[in-house]
Symmetry: C2
Subunit: 109 residues, 2 copies
DNA sequence: TACTAGTACATAGTAACGCTGAATAGCCAG
DNA sequence: CTGGCTATTCAGCGTTACTATGTACTAGTA
């Protein structure tokens, strides 16, 4: 199932991370840990960092460097207005897809 | 939303097509039309054909050439046993993802 | 000092997938 | 014979997540 999930995550992982950031600002390491807690046990750190850089460059988040007690300074990401708009759009798209797939799954039986 | 949907379809479109074939065998042109009927209005024909070749090469479908009344012969694809197993796996993976995302969406409010 | 482990971020290279755009080919109506 | 519908194929592209590795800081410990 790993490979199927990998492909499914394309396009959704971004929304997942944005949804996490919608609740409260967070930094990469924290987000990765949060994903693991939510059941996404196999998501590599590198994947998350690359994604964060992407959404930062798109202007969906604001970034602030915060010193850490242990280790390098944290880059704390906060969803901004543009990011919120984008996230709403994500939910609309997701709902559209999930609904159609649910229909298919129903009709199968 | 188009671009978001494109990315989301990665990994799911394959399952969608397999689910369609689970109901009854079909050929490419027919499947594309069926997708449009189901609300996937923007899926290009080329995309579907490429996907069909992929699942054929993976041995998930059996293929039969059937002459058409109008136009070139049809390649009719039928889900085989292996394809059915793969489809079940797809549903499990999808349910896993959809559930976790639903949690996120709930928690957001 | 040297080591280990945990925290925290970054990146080059790869594979997979869906999209774009075009080509090919058969059939039929005007 | 031209346009439109049926039907398939393919080369090239952009985006995304994964792999694997590297850097850097702190704290504990032998």
């Amino acid at each position: 199932m790993r490979k199927q999930l990998t492909e499914m995550l394309k396009g959704t992982l971004e929304g997942i991370v944005l949804a996490i950031l919608a609740k409260q600002p967070a930094y990469g390491y924290e987000i990765t840990a949060g994903l693991r807690d939510r059941g996404f046990t196999d998501i590599a750190e590198g994947t998350v960092y690359a994604l964060l850089i992407r959404i930062e460059q798109r202007g969906l988040v604001d970034v602030e460097k915060v010193p850490s007690e242990k280790g390098p300074p944290r880059k704390v990401f906060a969803l901004n207005a543009e990011g919120r708009t984008y996230l709403e759009e994500f939910w609309r798209t997701w709902d559209f897809l999930a609904e159609r797939i649910a229909d298919l799954h129903e009709g199968e039986k």
